[in-house]
């Protein structure tokens, strides 16, 4: 008769964390950033049909990395939760914080109770009311980790793949209230950053891009197709980029422009790890 091998609880949890982290790091990165018109999602995703970014409800969007079958199941569950809640109460009663909490509790209990943790990392984004502030203070970005820990990010979320170089690149270029073309070019450049300092240029076909457009009433989620993305990435002047967004079927970006395509803001000193405000001490709910 064999005896079960003893493992301390710490070791047990660490093994699971390592397992989940490795699974998530194998994928490609997704970023979600707040810009002047709402929330922008950019994912490196060669498949045009297996989406990493999706609509959940009127003002709520979803992005995920990791194992496709696991996050697809969570995405479906989120849409069902939101639709049932909106149907039994009112559409205005569906909030991003509520949904993010449901995800966090589910991921947390799967992590501690089941033999295999879910190898996913999720982002739930919600845009504020259409007549609200445009500086992003009314928008919310929640990042939910494989173990159920939840972070409220004030500016951007980077998940999946090797996050450090992407987060560092975004940290360097992020500017409050930037417009859509500037934000998209910066996200695309950040997704091409690697740890060894090399840069890849991602083509529009390799990117999955969507926005939650704060100015719209009702359903705010819009996908941007390759043509629209190419139009925005190819333009250098903000004015021309505005026209490109209009041509791409997406409502024109508001008139403010934040200057050149490559802002030169230095990394902010309070986040030396380049991970934005994602440190658990500050951001955990």
């Amino acid at each position: 008769m064999t005896m079960p091998i003893y493992a301390s609880p710490e070791q047990f949890m660490r093994d699971r964390s390592d397992y989940a982290r490795k699974g998530i790091a194998r994928g490609r990165s997704v970023v979600a950033v707040i810009f002047s018109g709402g929330v922008l999602f950019v994912a490196e995703n060669p498949s045009p049909t297996l989406h990493k970014v999706s609509e959940i409800y009127d003002r709520i969007g979803f992005a995920a990395t990791g194992r496709y079958n696991e996050y697809e199941n969570l995405r479906t569950a989120g849409i069902r939760l939101a639709d049932v809640r909106g149907y039994s109460y009112d559409r205005g009663d569906v909030t991003g914080r509520w949904l993010a909490n449901a995800y966090a509790q589910t991921l947390g209990s799967v992590f501690s109770e089941h033999s295999k943790p879910l190898e996913v990392e999720l982002c739930v984004a919600e845009v504020g009311p259409p007549d609200g502030p445009t500086d992003g203070t009314a928008d919310q970005l929640y990042r939910i980790s494989y173990d159920g820990s939840m972070f409220d990010e004030p500016r951007f979320v980077v998940m999946g793949g090797v996050t450090e170089p992407v987060a560092a690149a975004l940290e360097a270029t992020f500017a409050d209230g930037w417009d859509l073309p500037t934000a998209m070019r910066s996200c695309a450049a950040a997704l091409g950053s690697a740890a060894d300092g090399t840069k890849r240029v991602l083509s529009p076909a390799q990117l999955e891009v969507a926005v939650l457009d704060r100015r719209l009433l009702g359903r705010t989620f819009r996908r941007l197709d390759d043509v629209a993305v190419a139009g925005i990435l190819a333009t250098d002047t903000p004015d021309a980029a505005d026209e490109a967004t209009t041509d791409g079927g997406h409502p024109a970006e508001s008139t403010e422009s934040t200057g050149p395509a490559e802002p030169t803001e230095p990394a902010e000193p309070e986040f030396p790890d380049g991970d934005g405000a994602g440190d658990p001490a500050g951001g955990q709910e």
């Binding site: 569950a77 069902r80 939760l81 639709d83 049932v84 509790q105 089941h114």
Partner: protein, 276 residues
Amino acid sequence: MSSDWPAQAIPAAYLTPGTGSFSEFLARAEPQLLPGHGRDLGPLPELRHGTTVVALTCADGVVLAGDRRATMGNVIAQRDIEKVFVTDSHSAIGIAGTAGMAIEMVRLFRLELEHYEKIEGAKLSLDGKANRLASMIRGNLGAALQGLAVLPLFVGYDLSISDPTRTGRIYSYDVTGGRYEEHDYYGVGSGSTFARSALKKRFVRGSDPASAVRFAVEALYDAADEDSATGGPDLTRRIFPVVVTIGRDGAVRWTDEAVGEVSEQVVAGRMTNPGG
């Protein structure tokens, strides 16, 4: 319970793979939320009924219009009820029958279309939408036999058809869930006989949307003229029919001002010629 996979925050039924149908999901996971659930169909009090809705095709599209009156027996229960709703980007529904049931069914049907679109990442075809509606009406058959019938008129723009004379489509239903495609024009509700007769004389195939809206408002006027349960344009209170036009660019609900202008022309015409 914590032993159920995966956890209490999201119940297991929500994480079980299934179809993109919201009403089927509700029936499985939250049956108490379905319209008509747990209703004791004893003797029923007098209920609000909606009345006349007309639809007609126009050049590259379709028009749907409904009057604003709801009745309870001989009493006008509401003067400004809405019976015509945009259901998604390219379809709309008009309802006649028991107002409470009908409005709940429209709410569920709109969500059905939106839910499918979000889960599957693609829109249902127009025939698919019409068939979903048919099965929802069939689900209401028991209540319909007790007098709580809901009879919708469903219209939409079929994006899969390239011939612009056939893109606007109209579907009518019976209480058993039978689905019938109508051509050119149709009407449902208590005043529909008169509205259809009016449309029969006025309808011109392939007319522009503005003329088609005029035909629809004329038909509703004729229905209100003959049927006490149908309301005509109310110029004193500024209550006008609800009008939706659907073209390739999507469904548009006309503003009260725009419908008011058409209604005033119709009423002015009747001042000199009451028969239209």
